[in-house]
């Protein structure tokens, strides 16, 4: 098992290197460079040239890339062109904020979504089932942006229960998490339900019931473990999607996350920040994929990442 993990981690290094090459080149090919963006209409070309010199943008692109790699291996992601502070500092605070938002949202989404899915499957065609599946459809369709603003209007302006944006107090987490979680809850509910329905029709479930086991044991001990395997995959994707998809929630609720930082950096062509942020996101995706694959092994004994030699 551990060799499997090491192999996966080792393989991720070339993947990340390729990511850096792609990001590095793409941002330098789109029109507009940081010097131009910073220069107002009155700043003359001398200013733009001065900035390009200072930032090393006049160097041939491969030399710029090697300089970037050199610094990267020393743990230095460079300095933000816009804010003139180290990229590491910027990324650290914003990344932890984004992680906080996405993991809490995912946790909430998992608990509610899977819970609803299990109950819907167990009581198929009941009122609860029909209502929850309808709500799930709505949840998948409703745009997060609109939902976020509606929450603000309802809970902040009209009811005055919650602060409308920002970060700092626990109550400020409620609406961003709700907005972000809704889509995932909907998706997870539907997938859990169909997966559970599949499993509940299997022979071994009938056997378990015939043995006289209480329904609770049948569902949680026997059915759920198997039903959850496709759900775990979706959970992994959802976490990945949330990491990237928090941008909208971060903007609506003024949540100081990395998604918002990245979008602004792109608009301002802040190359070091873009490179650093994308690298962080890519590393996250790779890690999430690895963790999801390992969790499979826990849930399904048939899945084992060992080589023939290790099995003794």
């Amino acid at each position: 098992m551990s060799t499997y993990i090491y192999k996966r981690l080792l393989l991720s290094i070339p993947v990340l290197l390729i990511v850096t090459v792609i990001v590095f080149s793409i941002i330098r090919f789109i029109p507009g460079d940081p010097a131009e963006i910073m220069a107002g209409l009155d700043a003359g070309p001398e200013y733009i040239e001065q900035v390009r010199e200072r930032l090393g943008l006049n160097q041939p692109i491969h030399l710029q890339y090697f300089a970037f790699l050199r610094n990267l291996f020393q743990g230095d992601l460079g300095e933000s062109i816009n804010y003139r502070i180290p990229v590491n500092e910027l990324l650290f605070s914003t990344f932890t904020n984004t992680i906080e938002l996405s993991t809490i949202s995912l946790l909430v989404a998992a608990i509610i979504g899977i819970g609803v899915g299990i109950v819907s499957a167990r009581y198929r065609y009941s009122i609860f089932d029909n209502l929850s599946m309808l709500a799930a459809l709505a949840g998948i369709a409703i745009p997060v942006f609109w939902l976020g603003l509606m929450f603000q209007l309802l809970f902040s302006v009209n009811l005055g229960w919650l602060p409308s944006s920002g970060k700092g107090k626990l109550l400020q987490l409620v609406m961003p998490v709700m907005s972000l979680a809704v889509g995932s809850i909907a998706l997870l509910a539907r997938i859990t339900r169909s997966s559970m329905l599949d499993v509940l029709h299997q022979d071994y479930i009938t056997t378990a019931r015939a043995k006289g086991l209480p329904e609770r044991v049948v569902i949680f001990k026997h059915a759920l473990r198997n039903a959850l395997i496709p759900v775990i995959t979706i959970l992994g994707f959802q976490l990945g999607a949330m990491l990237g998809g928090t941008v909208i929630v971060e903007i609506v609720f003024a949540w100081p996350g990395m998604g918002r930082l990245l979008v602004n950096a792109i608009l301002q062509r802040d190359y070091p920040v873009i490179q650093g942020a994308v690298l962080v996101f890519a590393s996250c995706f790779i890690l999430i994929n690895l963790v999801v694959d390992l969790i499979y092994a826990c849930f399904d004994p048939r899945i084992r990442y060992t080589s023939k030699k290790e099995v003794s």
């Binding site: 029109p31 107002g40 209409l41 009155d42 003359g44 733009i48 608009l267």
Partner: protein, 513 residues
């Protein structure tokens, strides 16, 4: 059973923690929360480039002079200023008894240090162009400075009033690059920077030793809230006291709210549709005039901008020194068609209008309206929308490389002086990439007049010069000058003393009930 009990305890515990967050603020301390759309890049003058940066900068640093709500120039760190006969030397007397918040004295040496730091090419300061005509800063005595000019430049003090040129404590510069003090300059103003939480907020506290007496508000909190609708919501819930860059679509809603004061104010910016004067079809004055007759600016102002702003009556705004009413242009589609026919404009010829996203108010809708009005006179316009960075790249090129026929953009006026509004965008030396004359306009007489206006200091003579220039420019129609932009500012009714000037909001004299 036990599990639920523990869960219940946990929930109660969390609720208590969150509620305790509410009692954190110090009762009795007056605080103003101002919501801004974008975080400033830095507050060190050498890195400032944005309007948002200016608002914050003017609360941390002071400039030599400042511009008030009526556009007048007032003393601040400088008390008096006087040009020599030939305009080549300006003698400035500085205010005495002022210190920086780190204790250092404010004096002529500090002024010299600051101006030279801005002009230093190693610092590549964008705003160095504001003082490019200063060749040397001479320290005459502790409180007197002499500016030696390369050539006479009448509006120089207005340029020095730009919040981009705040004065920082010279001894604080060495700390500006690292750790806690990074980008937190030290100035002489009524407030000092105490905390910068990136992405979230910037906190200023009052300067007890301010030379003008301590301000009434103890703490200024600038919160960064990028989404306009969220800023409006925060004003309505009372989470914010003052809001900037309110979208026109929220104007009515805020106006109807009795807890909020809404103001519209002219920021000196003219919005226009530039036309590429360097090649057909817009190298022909008649074509440009025809296009001008075809656009119903009143209708666009009323229906798209909710009547916020005014139709342009000159290439510069009415509150700019040197303004003269030479417009507004007439809406006459029949005349437009006639003129166009006279020029032999081909029926199926397509012109491309570049539309910048995310930069100005209601851009896409305004451009669509223009497209449809031009269609009514038989002109085919294709809209090409692009993000602002790409847009700037596309239009800031020499004429041979330009792909734009028309483009929508605005030009502000930081000094409320005609020179700022005309020189960079209408002088023929300022064709891109050298400057902002994006429509490649060239008129020798206008060039002459603009240059004269920069040199001569006598205000009445300058007014005459600019009158003539404005008339010629208006007649030439290098661009369709559409509106004088008005911005919307909103504050809670408990707050008084809020000043909206140009692109900025000033709360030096603010108070809260």
């Amino acid at each position: 059973m036990k599990k639920f009990f523990c869960l219940g305890l946990l929930i109660i515990f969390l609720i208590i923690i969150s509620l305790s967050g509410f009692s954190a603020s110090n009762l009795g301390e007056k605080e103003l929360v101002i919501v801004i759309p974008q975080e400033p890049e830095t507050l060190d003058p050498i890195g400032l480039t944005s309007g948002g940066g200016q608002t914050l900068s003017m609360h941390v640093l002071e400039t030599l002079a400042y511009i008030d709500e009526e556009g007048g120039l007032n003393p601040l760190l400088a008390e008096t200023w006087e040009p020599s006969e030939d305009g080549l030397i300006w003698t400035i007397k500085l205010r005495e008894g002022v210190s920086f918040t780190d204790g250092d004295p404010f004096n002529a040496e500090a002024v010299k240090f600051n101006l030279e730091r801005i002009k230093d090419p190693d610092n590549s300061v964008m705003n160095a162009y504001l003082i490019k005509d200063i060749s040397e800063v001479e320290v005459v005595d502790e409180y007197t400075v002499r500016l030696h000019m390369i050539k006479s430049f009448a509006p120089i003090i207005r340029h020095l009033a730009n919040p981009f040129l705040g004065i920082i404590s010279p001894s604080s510069v060495k700390d500006l690059n690292k750790g806690e003090t990074a980008n937190m300059p030290i100035g002489t103003s009524p407030y000092k920077l105490v905390k910068w939480e990136h992405g979230m907020q910037i906190i200023l506290e009052k300067n007890e030793n301010y030379w003008g007496g301590p301000p009434k508000i103890d703490k200024l909190i600038f919160k960064i809230v990028p989404e306009a609708a969220s800023r409006v919501i925060m004003l309505e819930t009372g989470e914010a006291d003052i809001g900037l860059n309110i979208p026109v679509t929220s104007y009515e809603q805020l106006k109807a709210n009795p807890e909020i004061n809404v103001t519209t104010y002219s920021d000196g910016r003219i919005m226009f549709v530039g036309m590429n004067n360097s090649r057909p079809p817009f190298d022909n004055k008649k074509v440009r005039q025809a296009f001008s007759y075809a656009i119903d600016k009143e209708a666009i102002l009323k229906n798209v901008l909710f009547d916020i702003g005014t139709v342009a009556s000159a290439p510069i705004a009415h509150n700019v020194f040197g303004y003269k009413k030479v417009g507004p242009s007439v809406y006459d589609p029949e005349k437009a068609k006639k003129l166009l026919a006279e020029t032999g404009y081909e029926k199926d010829r397509e012109v491309i209008l570049f539309v910048p996203l995310g930069a100005f108010s209601m851009t896409e809708t305004i451009c669509e309206a223009i497209q449809s009005m031009l269609r009514d006179i038989g002109v085919k316009v294709t809209l090409e929308t692009m993000e602002f960075g790409s847009f700037m790249r596309a239009i800031r090129v020499p004429p041979e490389k330009s792909k734009a026929d028309m483009f929508y953009i605005g030009w502000g006026n930081d000094t409320l002086d005609a020179d700022y509004g005309l020189f960079n965008i209408l002088h023929s030396d300022r064709w891109p990439p050298n400057g902002g004359n994006l429509y490649y306009y060239k008129n020798n007489r206008v060039d002459e007049l603009i240059e004269l206006g920069r040199e001569i200091s006598e205000p009445n003579k300058r007014k005459e010069i600019y009158s003539e220039a404005l008339e010629i420019i208006w007649d030439d129609v290098p661009a369709l000058f559409m509106f004088e932009e008005e911005k919307i500012g909103a504050s809670r009714v408990e707050v008084t003393g809020v000043e909206y000037v140009l692109d900025w909001v000033r709360v030096w004299n603010a108070d809260k009930k």
